[in-house]
Structures are given as C-alpha cells and as structure tokens.
Symmetry: C2
Subunit: 275 residues, 2 copies
C-alpha cells in the first residue's frame, strides 16, 4: 500500500536566484506550504548557503526552511534529526563536494530518512554536487574542457535516487561531454545525463522533463559498436563509435525506461488522440 | 585523364611543434623533398608565424618552405604568385581568422591555384582557422563553453575542399559541441567534424584517418527526429533528438560517404579476410 514516490529535481548548478527563478519555483511548488530542508552537507564551509536560499525562496510560498548540516559521519548517526524530517515536504541538497554527501551520510539514519521522505511522496532536489550525488554512480573527478583520456576518471556510488544514470553538472559551461562519454563507455547500461547551469530535470517515475534556461544532454551508449575503454594505457584518448545523443531543452520530456525523447507538444497531441 | 586528388590534412590547432610532431611529420611526408607553401593569410599580423614553422619543420625532410601572405584582396589577383605554386608539393594554411582566408582569396587566382595543386595530387593542410576554411561551410562565430542558442551562430562559405562537412577546431578545449550541433541542426546534410588541438584528420578521397593526441568528434544528424532550430526566438536553447555521435582517436578511420567509422585494426582484418 505504498503511495507514489515523490519527484526529484536535479539541477546543473547556478540556478537563477534573483530573476525568474524558474527552478526554485518548481521546488517551492512541490513543497507548497510545507517545510523544506536545505541540506548544506556537501560543503566544507556551509556558512552563508542557507541564508542565500532563505532569501531566494522568501516569497515563493514554502512553509518554512530549515538547515541540515553534519560536520562528520558521527553526526549523521544522531537520531535527533528525525524531528527535522518528520513533517518535511522535501529536501534540497546544495553544492560543494559530492563525496562529502555520500561519505558523510551513506548508510546512516540520515540517508534512510531521505529515502523514506522520497518514498512517502516528498521532494528530493539537488544542485551541482547535490545533483551528482542523486545518481547511482557519481562522477567524482575527471577533466573538463578536454577530450577524455581512458584513465582519467573517478566514479563513486551515489545515493541512487535516479536509477541507472550518471549525472554530470555545469555541463556545457565546463565542457564536460568528454568525461560523460568516458563514463558511459565503461558500462553503457548506465545512461549519461549532462545538465547545464540554471537547468534541471524533474523526474517522476521513469519520465523526466527539462526546465530552466540551458540544455540537458543525454548520452545513450546502448548502440555503441566499439570503444577502446578497456585498453591498457590510461593516457590513451577515448574512442567510441555510434553513440546516440539527445540535446533537450525546456519542455522536452525523456522516458528513462525506453530511452526516448519527445517534446511536450508531441506528447499532448498523442494524449489528445487517445482521448 | 586526371590523377588522384592530393591528401588533405585538417588540424584542430596547437599541433605539437617541439616534441613528437606527429602531425607536422605527416605533412612533411606528404611533400617529401618538395616545396611547401606556408600560407599565413588568415592572420592580421603574420609576423613570426613563418619563422616558427621554419624551425618546426627544419629537420623533417621538406625540400623548402616559402611564405605566402596577401595583405588584401587586390594582392590575391597578382598572377606573380603562380611561380610559388608551380613546383610546390603542398600548401599549409596557418591560424588566425578563417574569414580572412575566404574573403581575401575566394574567387581569385590564388584560390584557383590551391584547387589546381589539390587536383594534381598536392597536399592541402590547414590548422585552426586554416582548418575551418577547408570545409564547405565555415563556422565563423558562435559561443564556446555553453549550450547553443538558436540565433547564436554565424556561418560562411569556405574553400569547399572537404565536401559536405563543417569543421570546428580547438574542439574539446573550448567546449564547442554545442555550436557544432547547432550548425548540423540547420541542415543535417552537412556532417559536423570537431577536431581537438594537436589532432588532425588525413582525408583521402572519401575516407579519413585520425592522427595526433586528441579526438575527433563526428556529428551525424541524418537520423535526427526533431529539432527546434527553425523556431523563431533566437535566444531559445537548442533541442535536437537522435543525433549519432562518434568519438574517434588516433588510428580510427571514417568513411565520409557511408558515414561509418572503423578502427584501422578492424579494417586490416577485413582486408586480410578478403585477400
């Protein structure tokens, strides 16, 4: 008798906090009137993060904002944070270092509470490092602004909220297509999702929709006919044939199960045709 | 009774001039013992370019090096440069501004001589702006390091030596996948070729092989199911579904006619099987 899982909002970093605030509005709408937890765990120095979001969310209709920070793994064992989660409508992981999120809260009561929140219909959102941490596998280190060399990539297990996916952020801005291709080459079972700044995917069940001002790149390696990723020399440049790539922007919808994109206009037409 | 056309060597910029010099060696081998014209036409201030290449090519077995520079279009009409071309084995266009090449020599005797040289088996090479100018359509302006906005791209006719292709350079280094996708979206008849620095394609007939240390990205839009490129608002972010992408590195071969990649190892196996 479990209800539907809550939405995920995964943001490529630097979401607009002063103008249109399209993405923050989507977050606010998902938790309207309820409490939103701002988790600044990814940051080594979280001072100021919470205050900046307090200001950005001020007039958007969120019930209340509360900060969640843990200095270390021991603090994540503290059951007293349960009160913070009990009546929350959602949690929003801010930026910093994705390894701090996974290493500090992985397999602790906090991680369990995030999962519970998601399973009872609550929102889980993340930006930048907070976005990376939401995937099955996180990209932790790898060059930006150059073509991928085989040995130049470090991955780690993420929170696994977006299943079967690896998410990279600040995507076009930092020239990260190379490293995302390199990650997908290692196992094309994983779909690669590269999210630009001020851009997000809203994930519901197996579908996702793009919001914000930039693009989302989907790297589908299922049809790859050849790659040299398992070759020995780590300094070898990546070679990878027959990748399927989609560039999605606001209003585009992608079905993660069938790996097929469509525009919202097309979907509405189909729904009308079926009505 | 025309013989085979000469090879084209198209370089993504910043080719190694001091170490292995893989690309310069390929150029030298193609004109071995003959004269190589260094065309510094793309530069507004060509001082020093020729001397740098004199030094880089010094011990590579080129017969002689001669500089070709034209200050303006009028100078390109001067038939006296015919002597420079008559006994040359090849021409190498250095970097600068691709519009200088096309606007200064397009439809002049110099352009005709470059084409003659190519048609009688001579080498035509180009790096950076010199590479861009070799394609049918040149990318002249467009943002790097961000996702493509529909209105943010300027193209111009190039020398047309690499047919049916648009070539972009400094590719991964400047995060240019967005603008190349935007160019291909405008007409998927054109294949997009993005070349990293210190990387080149060697084009013979309809085939090309990758040399150098980086990668070459092939954007094939022939299967694109949807793009929003013809929509009105120029600030709209690109949306483009079902792109076929190949990442090629040293030793990879690509057939421009069939748009199919293969590795040299595979091709050699096939040739053996047919022998």
């Amino acid at each position: 008798m479990t209800g539907a899982k809550g939405p995920l909002i995964v943001i490529g970093g630097h979401e607009d906090k002063e103008g249109e605030r399209t993405i923050l509005k989507a977050i606010a709408e998902a938790v309207i009137g309820q409490k939103l937890i701002i988790a600044t765990i990814a940051s080594h120095r979280p001072e100021g993060y919470f205050e900046a979001y307090q200001q950005a969310f001020a007039d958007l209709g969120v019930g209340s904002l509360v900060e969640l920070y843990v200095r270390d793994r021991e603090a994540s064992q503290d059951e007293s944070v349960r009160a913070t989660f009990s009546d929350a409508g959602g949690i929003f992981f801010t930026g910093g270092d994705q390894l701090r999120i996974s290493s500090q809260i992985g397999d602790t009561p906090i991680e369990a509470m995030v999962r519970e929140l998601h399973e009872r219909g609550g929102l889980v959102a993340g930006t930048s490092a907070g976005a990376a941490a939401m995937s099955d596998i996180m990209l932790v280190k790898g060059s930006s602004g150059e073509t991928h060399r085989i040995g130049d990539l470090h991955m780690a297990p993420g929170l696994g909220l977006v299943e079967g996916a690896i998410i990279d952020q600040h995507f076009a801005e930092r020239g990260r297509i190379g490293r995302l291709l390199g990650a997908v080459a290692q196992n094309p079972r994983i779909i690669g999702i590269g999210i630009d700044e001020d851009t997000a995917i809203v994930v519901n069940n197996r579908g996702m929709e793009v919001i914000g001002s930039g693009a989302v790149y989907i790297v589908d390696g299922s049809g790859v006919t050849r790659s040299n990723i398992s070759e020995a020399r780590p300094e070898r440049t990546l070679s990878m044939h027959d990748i399927r790539l989609h560039v999605l922007s606001a209003g585009d919808i992608f079905d993660l199960e069938s790996r097929s994109p469509q525009s919202r206009a097309t979907q509405e037409c189909r729904e009308e045709a079926h009505a």
